[in-house]
């Protein structure tokens, strides 16, 4: 059923043709479009036999494409090496230094930061992979890092302290107007080129975010008019100085802004920010070339500044990513000033898609995270990606955890549905039937002429204590109703039904997310290759196991399910931090390997101790807290706990009587079972 794309869709075609096709598709890649990128990744994956030419095509593209498109192209590269791996890693790492550095010199500071973040992820293992090796070999990444470091140091010597928290605008020495060409000044420039509207958050910060001035509709028109005139001015400016990249970028950003303003309504906060920015620009534009005019932008988010305070409302993210926003006008945009509608979704989609969201992707999905540190994003990635069923609330809560503060409009975190069944499913269908359902039943009954005696609420009548042969033969439409019509919300992937209630919808949403993640994982040969059976469980494990539906469980529910298992040290586990699948227990110094029993990377038999992950059994031994338990260390796949349980089971079994107690009186039997059960559970 899993619709796997046929292998080798280009099979029989020469490498050159495949590469040409690939290059063509690359040319269409205008921005950071996840679907296009993953599509290109899939093409690359299916044509590994042409990897060399495809790699070459990709590198050529990166080299030749205009700077604004370089980053998306790099994301294709990133996605391919992370999701396909060899042989692409080999081919792509050959020229990586040149490719990377050349692009780095040409792009603006914003993109550079994203490239830095991407580079950082290349030093780490592919998140969620068993393979502990980094994405690219250290000898590939290291030279790039060294070069960048040298550039930064050089910039430092030029009297541009990279770390600056003072609001004082620096003395620019007229550097701004020099085109960004010299490599030595690369870093300094990255701070100064006021491209896009990255300056806006700072301005926003300077004015108190609250109370928001009343937002009036005619303001929009004013802003639009301002933008239009700005566009005109910038156009003429650009016409007079075609080579000036900063002007062109600014023009591009303005055009984007114009588009956004025309297409959609902004919430008051963003509107305010846009307005302020446009006003400032209108004021500056004529005097553009004088350095003082650009002072405020320069203060914006220097590269090494600690993250800006999170309560700054996000401002005009649309300019940077107009294409990322699904054009959904469904949600009214006024709440949630931090995330525009759609951003949250795109961020969420990033987490749910099962692929490893790279840092730049995350930053792009939610521009308000632009200023987040890698660590914060990591924490968030950890918090969200590790949850079994990320949903909006999880995302928000993990944002909270990672240090973001949302202005009190987080979408209803309290509406988390109870992890158990929706109430209405447990109710007899008859009780839940309003009039409408009667009519459904009536029509149902019309199709079955021989049934006349069955009342709509008949499910109660089925509860015979002593059902008779005739009552058993009477058709009871309410039972069919409960199985079908009462659960109208059907999953098209597997036919599973959900009630038409709000809880049912949420459940279905989680279920669909689960399908999506599962299919992604199934499509990944790196995950599916080498699949094998797990050992069957023994009695203890089976008894303690709570069978729940992973496809609809929330993270909360999952955590709760896992709770009772944590009693014994060898059954404790710790979620693996992203990218970390090997760990050294700092007590016994043995290696621990992560496993993924339930879609989630965890260290089995593990606990946190002084902030480090150690064997739970070691910790128990050291603290002397619990009774002596058989210590089985770090066996991946839960084999350790299994073996430990086995030891206990054998102990328990040995003192059992040899013959099975074949007890006839069933109450007595049950009592005996209970006794035995508890004996099985002790130790």
């Amino acid at each position: 059923m899993s619709a796997r794309s046929p292998r080798g869709s280009f099979s029989g075609v020469s490498s050159a043709e495949v590469a040409a096709d690939f290059a063509d598709s690359l040319k269409d890649l205008q921005g950071n479009n996840r679907y296009e990128i993953s599509n290109l990744t899939i093409i690359a994956k299916e044509n590994t036999e042409h990897a060399q030419d495809i790699s070459q095509a990709l590198i050529n593209h990166i080299k030749t494409t205009p700077p604004p498109r370089k980053l998306p192209a790099f994301y294709v590269l990133d996605s391919i090496v992370k999701n396909v791996g060899t042989p692409y890693t080999v081919y792509l790492s050959r020229n990586l230094y040149d490719t990377f550095m050349q692009a780095y010199t040409l792009v603006d500071g914003n993109v550079r930061r994203q490239m830095d973040a991407m580079l950082k992820t290349w030093k780490e293992p592919v998140p969620g992979s068993m393979d502990p090796r980094p994405v690219f070999l250290p000898e590939v990444v290291k030279p790039i890092e060294t070069a960048l470091m040298r550039a930064r140091t050089a910039a430092l010597k030029h009297g541009q302290p990279p770390i600056r928290n003072t609001p004082t605008p620096p003395n620019l020495n007229g550097q701004y107007s020099t085109p960004p060409a010299h490599f030595q000044q690369l870093y300094a420039q990255s701070q100064q080129v006021p491209t896009h509207f990255q300056t806006t958050p700072v301005q926003q910060q300077q004015q108190p975010p609250y109370p928001i001035p009343p937002y009036q509709h005619n303001e929009v028109d004013v802003v639009k008019a301002n933008v239009a005139s700005l566009v005109k001015r910038t156009q003429s400016e650009w016409a007079s100085n075609l080579g000036d990249k900063s002007v062109r970028d600014r023009l591009q950003a303005l055009l984007d802004l114009q588009k956004v303003l025309d297409l959609q309504q902004l919430d008051p906060v963003s509107m305010q920010a846009v307005k302020a920015q446009v006003d400032a620009l209108s004021a500056q534009a004529p005097r553009h070339s004088t350095p003082i005019a650009v002072a405020p932008p320069v203060a914006s988010t220097p590269q090494w500044q600690p993250p800006l305070l999170a309560h700054q409302p996000y401002a005009t993210p649309q300019q940077t990513l107009p294409f990322q926003r699904p054009p959904s006008a469904v949600q009214p945009p006024q709440p949630a000033p931090v995330f525009a509608p759609g951003q949250l979704e795109s961020l969420q989609a990033l987490f749910t898609n099962g692929q490893k969201p790279s840092t730049p992707q995350m930053r792009n999905a939610a521009p308000s995270l632009q200023s987040a540190t890698h660590g914060q994003l990591n924490a968030m990635q950890n918090g969200v990606a590790s949850a079994a069923q990320p949903n909006t609330n999880d995302l928000i809560s993990s944002l909270f955890k990672s240090g973001f503060q949302l202005p009190s409009v987080a979408p209803t975190p309290s509406q988390q549905p109870p992890p158990s069944l929706p109430v209405n499913m447990a109710q007899p269908p008859a009780a839940a039937l309003p009039d409408f359902n009667n009519s459904v039943l009536a029509s149902l009954m019309r199709t079955m002429p021989n049934i006349t005696s069955v009342a709509p609420g008949a499910s109660k009548t089925v509860r015979w204590r002593q059902p008779t042969a005739s009552s058993l033969k009477t058709f009871n439409p309410s039972l069919v109703y409960a199985l079908y019509d009462n659960q109208p919300n059907q999953c098209s992937n597997c036919g599973r039904r959900f009630p038409g209630t709000e809880a049912g919808r949420e459940k279905k949403q989680r279920h669909l997310d689960w399908h999506f993640r599962t299919n992604q994982r199934l499509a990944d040969p790196a995950i599916t290759r080498g699949n094998h059976r797990q050992p069957f469980v023994d009695e203890h494990e089976w008894v303690a196991l709570k069978d729940f539906d992973a496809s609809t469980a929330t993270a909360d529910a999952t955590a709760k399910q896992a709770q009772p298992v944590k009693n014994r040290p060898e059954e404790q586990f710790v979620r693996a931090p992203p990218g970390k699948i090997v760990n050294k227990c700092s007590i016994c110094q043995e290696d621990m390997k992560a496993s993924h029993p339930n879609d989630d990377w965890v260290f089995m038999n593990a606990a946190r101790w002084n902030g480090k992950i150690v064997h739970a059994t070691c910790l128990a031994e050291m603290t002397g807290g619990s009774a002596p338990t058989p210590v089985v260390r770090g066996n991946p796949g839960g084999g350790g706990s299994l073996a430990a349980a086995l030891g206990v089971a054998n102990e328990a079994r040995r003192d059992r009587s040899a013959t099975p107690d074949s007890l006839l009186g069933k109450r007595k039997a049950e009592a005996a079972m209970m006794g035995q059960g508890s004996r099985m559970r002790v130790e």
């Binding site: 509860r463 058709f475 080498g530 094998h532 059976r533 089976w542 709570k546 069978d547 099975p660 074949s662």
Partner: protein, 501 residues
Amino acid sequence: MALPGLSLPGLSAFSGPAQSTSTPAGTGGDSAFAGPSSITRTESLEPRTEWRFEVSFAGSYTIRLLSGTAEIFGSELAPNLLYSFSGVKAAVFTWQGCRLEIEGEAESEYVGSETEYAIEWLNVHGILEGMREDAEAAPQQGGSGGPRVLVVGPEGVGKSSLVRSLTAWGVKMGRTPTVVNLDSREGLLTPPASLVAATAGSQMEVEGNGYGIAPVSGPTVSAIKTPLVYHFPYESPTEKPEIFKGIVTRMATAVTSKLEEDAEAKASGLVIDTPGAALNDPRSNYDLITHIISEFSITVILTIGSERLYSDLTRRFGSNPSSPSDAVIVLRIAKPGGAVERDVSFLKSSRQQETRQYFFGSARETLNPHSQVIGFNDLTIYRARSSAFASEEDEGDNDKGAADDDDDDYEPTAGNDNSGLLFDKVTPSAAMMGGLVAVKFCASSSDLETIRDSAVMAFLYVADVDEARKRLRFLAPHPQRLGDRALVWGAWPEPTAGLVG
């Protein structure tokens, strides 16, 4: 079966799962009726009719639901999704009418309109739901929990189908019923020769046997269910009733403990599937049925297709003068019009497919077994005593012979089963080739009762026995080391040839 150079069975051998095998190994005359050729055709079904079809193991048959609603043994078909079947005798039932698109070759296919059975089955589901609601409403402690259902009846009357339907409907209502299979001729999430309990916490499947798949190391399309497995290497419980009873007791202990741990599962109850002929023998005074009923505290007995069984069981369990509330409900359920006896060769193919799928997975989830070579000295293999080995028996002939004489008859319950003779420690021999060996959750030095009662960790397939070099090659389902475990080899199921190579 000498297979030199087979070092990576997981990668090389899995070229042909059951579906694509070109040799219809004993699928029982499937070539005679080459039904309609593989033209796509559409069938419209009236409400409460069903589309019955039988597909050989070599055949492939796909069904797509175009409109309306339809289910196979309680599992609903998703609209416009292609479901494929092979080695299946089943029926697509519709309560509300539907249109199906069908493609492929079937041994037989037709619309069945005598579907009164379905109404009864659904009403049984209604009764069980009522009892589950009661159990939920009742206070947790001391509450007797949900219905504990035992399904009994002769061969080929649809017992397994009923169990599957009741489970699927229950799951659809948000329940988590526990399913117990006591028929060692068929696996449930496992190879045959196992007695299994599994709590259905997630959806039932349309394809396959409906229960999805037991845990594997990676993502799966099918829903995962975790079975508790015991080894019963005999075709029929009557062969070794004492062992059967011992395992039933053991399993009932575990199941009861589990239900006590999990209130939801407790309220959802239990459905037990049983082997046909073996349990229904009036001459044994329903000894085994009685044992199951008491061990699992059965509250509902469903009898299919046998009036006598219904009558006998009603008399025996239907009323309890001392405490009427404890009386077991005994119901007689109609046999489906489409129920067919599955012949010996079909069942054999079915078992071989189960065995194959245990190691290699299905077409949807391919798995890689691992080859292991182990010296005779590093193994402790027990052979489960069985009449099948009687011919080569050279010690203990006397008492064993007595048992053999009775073999065609019903089992003379006690007598020959003093526990010392449960297992023999054996040196691996060529006779083991193609057989299944159970790895038990107990040390190899455990006493025989412990070995008998221990749950199964894994099954191994004996790929090769090199008696000269005293080495044994296994196919193991997972790469984990076995450790010091007791291995038990039984004569059941029959050897599966050609699993590797």
